[in-house]
């Protein structure tokens, strides 16, 4: 039996169908979850996809964080369930404090959509074991509130504990501190990043590369071996 990976749809979520597709391409069973759901339908892992949940009104991720489904996500993430937050999902994870720091408006104040080069800094998280440490990958970045910030102490801690999972290469696209594109929690089960691996899983679609697929194959292996 293959693993069940849930993908949450909040009002205003945009990349839910893409993420469900990426999960399926990787070989897992995609399970749509609704923001009003109380439980998580016995999924083995959860992805919070990109978009503008609740229009990003007030602050990106600030309202979604209080959705009924997030209570279960927070509880189970703390118990070790793998959770991946992509873009808006990453913003939600920082709002819940499952991950430290916050995202501010890009330093150039514009939305930016581009094929973004990244270095995989931590290939030991639940979502990155199919990458090599230091591997360079390209996946789409598309966001306006993508500038990762945290205080110096937190940043030093992230560096020291190897919790910076991805760094931007070839030019920092948004002013993120220390070129941070994605981070993980201490246990390595919760990962958040701004770029979109789900848009890089099929040849000829999107960037035409499949550099993002390893996120979904990594988690599948992890769950199979669990």
């Amino acid at each position: 039996m293959t693993s069940r990976i849930g993908v949450i749809t909040f009002p205003g979520t945009l990349d839910d169908r893409d993420t469900l597709r990426a999960v399926r391409i990787a070989g897992a069973e995609p399970i749509p979850l609704w923001h009003h759901d109380k439980g998580l339908k016995q999924v083995d892992a959860v992805v919070l996809p990109g978009g503008f949940s609740y229009g990003d009104y007030l602050r990106a991720g600030a309202i979604s964080r209080f959705s009924p489904v997030m209570e279960s996500v927070i509880e189970q993430a703390k118990a070790g369930m793998p959770v991946l937050g992509i873009c808006n999902g990453f913003q939600v994870l920082t709002e819940t404090h499952l991950l430290p720091g916050a995202m501010l408006r890009n330093n150039h104040l514009h939305f930016i959509c581009r094929d973004q080069k990244l270095r995989v800094e931590n290939a030991d998280t639940a979502w990155t074991t199919d990458y090599e440490p230091g591997q360079e990958i390209s996946v789409p970045l598309k966001s306006i509130d993508g500038r990762y910030v945290a205080n110096e102490r937190v940043l030093d801690e992230l560096e020291a504990e190897g919790r910076i999972a991805f760094r931007y290469l070839d030019g920092n696209p948004n002013g993120s501190l220390r070129d941070i594109a994605g981070i993980t929690n201490t246990a390595g089960n919760v990962v958040g990043l701004m770029p979109h691996p789900e848009h890089a899983v099929e040849p000829l679609i999107g960037t035409g590369r499949t550099d993002g697929l390893a996120f979904f194959t990594s988690i599948l292996k992890k769950l199979a071996n669990a």
Partner: protein, 778 residues
């Protein structure tokens, strides 16, 4: 229908919108202008002239009703009979699109609905349309552009389709003009801010600068949607007892005076207007509306559906009732409001965004409302379909509208505006571009090449398009700067559709008939160059004032040219939009018909990109190159000149070229293709080289001089990259079909070299091509 209007700009300056606040204060009024009151007071003065109605139009309304109209009725007629909603100046010319329409089995729904629908095979239907939001975008660039996207997306949604992509053909004033720095960043941010939030990939479009658009930027927006044949929905209200449901955003005071102006005999002008004429968008609400509506489609809960755009509820109720059988009764006081002080006239006229109107059988209403509740979308039963023939609207039990809906929606006035070829046309055409001094040496050629590819119109638009999400939905096969945008529509069969939009105001100014045909030819060529088979078109006809006979002549010529060309190419017009009065004072814009061509590709794996991705590929120039520089980018960039004749059009050749390009793509004979248009060959080679990261060694073919080879804008041409193993097969095919194919070089190295003339590094080309737009707008 779009909320754009040629009257928007005037409306903000007109006194009549000032009446609104005053009216609101009086409600609920003892002097509510009911049908009964109107019947009893035939001699009350009415502000028909201020509403833009002509005396004979007002008299016609009185004749239709057999009494004077109520304030609400007058407001409805005035906006629905406006140029924007009634097409009263353009109708007589637009009918050629139907009369000359080519036989085409692919057309499932033609002109007249929210958007046309085309059969793309495998049970799929595609709907697409381009329309304008020009005037609002000049007044308030961000919201104007944002709600332009919102409006066209709802049009597509209303056909029963899931919107799958958007594109934005844009025209601005001079790139270095201070006001362009206000308008362009606002428009781009508005398109991005709204479109990105909807989850629709933005896969193409155009950005053109010309001083003629300084006071009249053109913000056109296109949307493509996909559905199964059986899911096509139409805007009509039928079935006595069926409920009329308004759902989506609450109705507010925004956008009143956007498409028209509001009226009642009790209005006065003691208060200044506070309400903006431009609508304010909420993309989050629109995203919910899309998902909610798609779920409603899925459960087949609808009898008819219409979006609310220009003229708001006036338009939706009268069009639905007019297109269906029977009448309609609406309780206007049940409409959910953002502002409780709105008067009935204001509610009818409001162009608040993110609203839809549905016709639902009584037994399905509960489920309909449940789905709306799931998506947090407000839905209200506001009326029902009746067995009468009238559209009746009530306000707290009192009848304020009682009209035959067809007279409002579909039987507006039609004008045969006078038109005449302007005297200056001959002078303009006699000012031949052939007499302009040409570069004499290799060094001069190189200098002009760099100037051309770095000019604002020819430069990379990545700074703009990188502000739009092109990846969302995970189906994007090609996006800008490719020749066309292409999306997958079925992952199992690899079926895809491609769309390109093109228009060239300079060509059209020189010769409107030919210019319109060139716009179609270029978009057609772009779709074919990417490997798709062109099927049908949508157009956005942007012109100056129809009251100027010269402009009307341009319009008449352009529509005639376009209709003739559609017939020859076998691509029917499925719908579109006319935007007139793009004029400030005496100065109109260049006539700018923008044409969008939709094509289908059976397997997107066979798509052809523009990039010279592999060294050693042989470069072939397809078509004939002549000395054609009238209206060219070269004449503009180097000499700031506009005169002579535009390139000639040979539609038979365009069709043949299209067939060769799609066959070569299908059979794997070419690896890259780029159409040749403004800027000529050197522009195309620069873009393909930079995109692929490989240079090109070029040889000037026999019989051509280097200058003509590089800069001519002869139509019906493309450059293709052929793997050596396919060369014979490819040239045999071209030979057998009589398409000239000239070998002009090879993909190689990191310079673009024109043998015996000059050589320029990719680095230099990239610097020139990519620095311009950020340099102007960052």
């Amino acid at each position: 229908m779009s909320p754009d209007t040629e009257t928007a700009k005037e409306a903000t300056e007109r006194p009549s919108s000032r009446y609104l606040n005053q009216r609101a204060k009086e409600r609920p009024s003892v002097s509510l202008d009911t049908v009964k009151y109107a019947t009893d007071t035939p001699d009350v003065e009415q502000p028909w002239a201020e509403l833009g109605l002509k005396q004979d139009e007002y008299e016609r309304i009185r004749a239709i009703l057999g009494r004077r109209p109520t304030g609400a009725e007058l407001a409805m007629y005035s906006v629905m009979w406006s140029e924007h909603c009634s097409y009263k100046s353009s109708k007589v010319h637009l009918k050629q699109f139907g009369e000359k329409a080519p036989e085409n089995d692919a057309l499932l729904v033609g002109i007249g609905e929210n958007a046309g629908v085309v059969d793309v095979g495998q049970g799929y239907a595609v709907t697409f349309k381009v329309e304008s939001h020009n005037h609002p975008s000049y007044i308030e660039p961000y919201q104007g552009a944002a709600t332009g996207v919102g409006g066209i997306v709802r049009d597509i949604l209303a056909m029963g389709a899931r919107p799958v992509a958007v594109m934005d053909p844009l025209r601005f004033g001079a790139a270095d003009h201070p006001d362009t720095k206000r308008v362009l960043p606002g428009v781009v941010a508005g398109i991005g801010g709204y479109g990105n939030c909807l989850g629709l990939p933005n896969i193409g479009g155009e950005v053109v600068f010309d001083p003629c658009y300084q006071g009249n930027p053109l913000v056109n927006a296109l949307c493509v949607g996909v559905m199964k044949h059986e899911d096509i929905h139409l805007a009509k209200a039928s079935g006595t007892g069926n409920k009329v449901i308004l759902y989506g955003a609450r109705t507010g005071g925004d956008g009143i005076g956007g498409a028209s102006i509001l009226a009642s005999e009790t209005f006065d002008d003691t208060k200044p207007a506070k309400r903006p004429a431009v609508q304010v968008g909420d993309p989050f609400q629109e995203k919910l509306l899309i998902e909610c509506t798609l779920e409603i489609f899925k459960e087949k809960l609808l009898d008819g559906i219409q979006d609310l755009g220009a003229a708001g509820l006036s338009c939706a109720t009268s069009e639905l009732a007019s297109a269906g059988s029977g009448g309609m009764r609406v309780e206007l006081d049940t409409v959910p409001l953002r502002d409780a002080t709105l008067s009935p006239e204001e509610i009818l006229m409001s162009e608040s965004q993110e609203r839809m109107c549905a016709i639902v059988e009584p037994g399905k209403v509960d489920r309909f409302l449940e789905i709306c509740e799931k998506w947090d979308v407000i839905a209200t039963v506001i009326g029902e379909v009746t067995d009468g023939e009238r559209l009746e609207i009530y306000w707290h039990g009192e009848q304020i509208v009682d009209v035959p809906p067809r007279t409002v929606a579909h039987e507006g006035p039609v004008y045969e505006r006078p038109y005449a070829r302007p005297e200056w046309q001959d002078t303009l055409q006699a000012d031949d571009a052939d007499k302009l001094p040409r570069p004499q040496t290799g060094a001069e050629l190189k200098e002009q090449v760099l100037k051309l590819v770095g000019s604002p119109n020819q430069a990379s638009k990545a700074w703009i398009t990188d502000q739009y999400d092109r990846f969302v939905q995970g189906n994007t096969v090609l996006a800008q700067p490719e020749d066309s945008g292409m999306v997958r529509i079925d992952p199992n069969t690899n079926l895809g559709v491609a769309v390109a939009t093109d228009g060239n105001g300079r060509y059209t100014k020189l010769d409107p008939y030919t210019g319109a045909q060139l716009a179609l030819a270029e978009a057609y060529r772009n779709v074919a160059a990417s490997g798709a088979r062109p099927l049908a078109i949508s157009d956005c006809l942007n012109f100056g004032s129809p009251e100027d006979p010269a402009v009307m002549w341009q319009f008449a010529e352009a529509t005639r040219g376009l209709a003739d060309a559609c017939q020859r190419l076998g691509t029917p017009v499925t719908g579109g939009n006319v935007s007139l009065y793009n004029q400030t004072g005496e100065t109109g814009i260049h006539p700018t018909p923008v044409v969008a061509v939709l094509g289908v590709i059976d397997d997107f794996n066979r798509r052809t990109p523009i990039a010279f991705a592999e060294e050693g590929r042989l470069l072939y120039l397809l078509g004939d190159t002549k000395e054609e520089f009238g209206g060219s980018a070269w004449s503009q960039v180097i000499h700031d000149h506009l005169g002579g004749m535009p390139p000639q059009v040979d539609l038979g050749r365009e069709r043949l070229l299209g067939e060769i390009l799609t066959s070569a793509s299908r059979d794997g004979m070419i690896e890259a293709a780029h159409d040749l248009s403004d800027g000529g060959l050197v522009q195309a080679v620069t873009e393909s080289s930079l995109r692929g990261g490989n240079g090109a060694r070029l040889v000037v073919p026999d019989g051509l001089d280097a200058f003509t080879f590089l800069f001519s804008e002869s139509a019906g041409r493309a450059v293709v990259a052929v793997p050596p193993s396919e060369e014979l097969r490819f040239t045999d095919m071209c030979g057998a079909r009589d398409l000239p194919a000239t070998r002009i070089g090879v993909v190689d190295g990191d310079v673009v070299e024109v043998q015996g003339e000059f050589s320029v590094s990719l680095g230099e080309l990239r610097a020139a091509h990519e620095a311009t737009i950020p340099g102007l707008f960052v």
